[in-house]
Amino acid sequence: MTGDTHSARPTRRAWITGAAAAAGCFSLGFHVPFAPARGETLGAAPAAPEVNAWVVVRPDETVVIRIARSEMGQGTLTGLAQLVAEELGCDWSRVTTEYPTPGQNLARKRVWGDFSTGGSRGMRDSHEYVRKGGAAARTMLVAAAAKGWGVPPAACQVERGVITHAASGRSTTFGAVAAEAAKLEPPGDVVLKDPRDWTIAGKPLKRLDTLAKLDGSQIYGLDLTLPGMLNAAIRDCPVTGGTVKSFDAAAVSGLPGVKRVLQVGDSAVAVVADTFWRAKTALDALPITWDEGPNAAVSSASIAATLREGLDAPDAFVGNKAGDVEGALKGAAKVVEAVYGVPFQNHATMEPMNATAVWTPERCEVWTPTQNGEAALAATADAAGLPATRCEVYKIHLGGGFGRRGATHDWVRQVVLIAREMPGTPIKLIWTREEDMTHGRYHPVTQCRLRAALDADGNLTGLHMRISGQSILASIAPQRMVNGRDPVTFQGLNPSGPEAAIGYTIPNLLIDHAMRNPHIIPGFWRGVNLNPNAIYLECFLDELAHAAGQDPLDFRLKLMGAHPKHRAVLEAVADRIGWRTQPPEGVQRGLCQTMGFGSYVAGAAEVSVSESGALKIHRIVAATDPGHAVNPQQIDAQIAGSFVYGLSAALYGACTVKDGRIEQTNFDTYPVMRMDAMPAVEAIIMPSGGFWGGVGEPTIAVAAPAVLNAVFAATGKRVRQLPLRDTDLRRA
């Protein structure tokens, strides 16, 4: 590593000056002390021309690789850089990274493609064009050297940033020819390396962004400071759909440091002060009267009743259908039925929502941790009342994302509305944990009724899976609905396809969705609908195996003949955990598999439950086949982390509703997994090639069912309504 993480203190000034001059706008000219990861803002470096949009090589041989996706802990910064560097043929120890801005992407006709960072898409959606970017840059660098020597480019070799012409014994470096290369026409097409020949990609390299995270020097959005900046605290109506009726600004305007008390949109009130603590203190003291609107009587019980009605409703959207389920159920030797349910979950990123904005009538700029810089730019422009070409967003390293910081940018809208009231003054808005916990974009609430037909030999002949509940798309992305249907609802249950296909062949099958949308706003919560769908199907299959008197692994394998990749990961975890052997005394096992985000995943758990009902998870084995593994070390970290996220929800997490509002306000009432409950996790990474799947999310879906099936084996009790802590596991 080049070690410039700590010393790099680039500014955006160089770029903003040039762009502002070109656009006829003003430049605020702030010196912004941030270095996102090892990233830099464009133009901050000494003037080295880009070879192409993805690669800049400086005269000192530093290779700057541009990353369009957002780093939020998942390692995409390192993984994407590996893919570019692999094709570029540079010296990995010289690699650094930078984020292009959304405004630059807009101005350059989306040369960097999609900025959105969600759906575990970082690698699988951009691997081809970032590798081509690296390969094209290499081709141009070689061509520049060959031209200088008067030799054919094909006669030159590249090794770790050094270009050699063996026949004449000459060599040069990327840094020496970069300026000439930048003047050349880019190649029409390039040939990518066979992944079997990779030397940088596919290797368990260390992250590029670790060192600054160890000494406090990594700047998150929460940490940003601009000259003359003021701080804002905000309170949105506790009931979604409610509005501000009145507030008594005079009651707090004399408190220390308070500069402004103002309404934000229809539903929120903010205090702006010199420090955040003073803003928050004044906001806590501010009398606010709300019009709580039409949802003030909604409760978890009323939502559950609505969903229960949907379990039997005649109309539902069909996601997967084969044969004649009702006929199979009528002719069954045995019918098994169960109802499962999952509650709302908050993303609870460690860093609460925040953004910093400065607005003038001519221009608006925002600094924020975001999973989608382009969407943040659109939200900025909309709230600023300015065209996007007069706005800019600077992405700052995220203190966790998990889907909260991608699809909606409600906090960005708020900060821009505040900044509009104080033109020219930078405003940093920070949500308290309480604001964050009660104004999330929650994992959707659903229930599921499963009815299965078993024949006299215990074979599964029919399954009806009725999901009732909330659609994410209907609330926050209606443009992605298909004829009123939300396809995301069926994640992991689709009849086929490269994204999220069911891994079983069931002759008579119906999977349908009765959409019931409560007022609590849903969002893409890491793993999304794959999580509940895997719980529903994989726990119920376990029930069926027991009802049929069969081993849960054997019962599944009989249905998996046409699904070899699903089967391979399931068998891998079964083998590793020793499914066919006796578990240790007092320990029981469970397993499961699913497919989502393009990858095949399976999990197996060993648990024990004490007489008093205390669950201990001793060991987890998880297998994933993502097609290609760009950085096995990072995949291992994602798999282990997935169990923390998935089991936090399965064991403890629930956001409940009373009087129209979310009841949980902080980590005391929304507990999450800590180290004392963390099991050992053994990851089996088994890329089979030929496709590209994601790794940040799919494994979360197998965390809960693996453990819940093991809990049944240990206690004979089925946990069908999550979280598990609501179920008494004491021995009867």
Partner: protein
């Protein structure tokens, strides 16, 4: 005006007496490595050392800090960031998003200063900081690696 000693530097700070030490460190001293995560001493992202002990600074009012007490933040844990815990973290690539890690590192360094060779059970009992990315197993391995390095925490 209150007088604080942070990372060996004596600073005069202008804040109300009930201001949490966390916000004094972040907003008055300008040391933003210490993070706000919950404000109620649940998550540990704000962990600093006061006279060598790990303290959740979000729940310590400025008025409770005695003159002469030595406050150490992540920025002052070790010159050049080469505390054994920081070195172990680098070796094992512990952080994911990293937001909780200053608190994790400060809590871990204080644990090792008190107990240079903690058992797994002791680590699990003592390190109660929250990490939502799920780095716990690498944190545990990092503490053991730092302990094997034979140097206990300081600061």
């Amino acid at each position: 005006m209150a007088r604080l000693t942070i990372n060996g530097v004596v600073r005069e700070v202008d804040a109300e007496p009930d201001t949490p030490l966390l916000w004094v460190i972040r907003e008055q001293a300008g040391l933003t490595g210490t993070k706000y995560g919950c404000g109620i001493a649940q998550c540990g992202a704000c962990t600093v050392h006061i006279d060598g002990a790990a303290v959740r600074s979000c729940s310590v009012p400025l008025s409770a800090v005695e003159p002469g007490q030595k406050i150490v933040t992540i920025e002052g844990l070790a010159p050049g960031g080469d505390h054994p815990v920081q070195r172990a973290w680098a070796q094992l690539d512990v952080p994911q998003c990293g937001f909780c890690q200053p608190g994790m590192i400060m809590a871990s360094a204080a644990l090792l200063a008190q107990n240079p060779r903690p058992s797994d059970a002791e680590i699990r009992a003592e390190i109660t900081n929250i990490c939502r990315c799920g780095t716990y197993n690498r944190v545990l391995a990092g503490i053991k690696l730092a302990a094997e390095g034979g140097q206990s925490g300081r600061g």
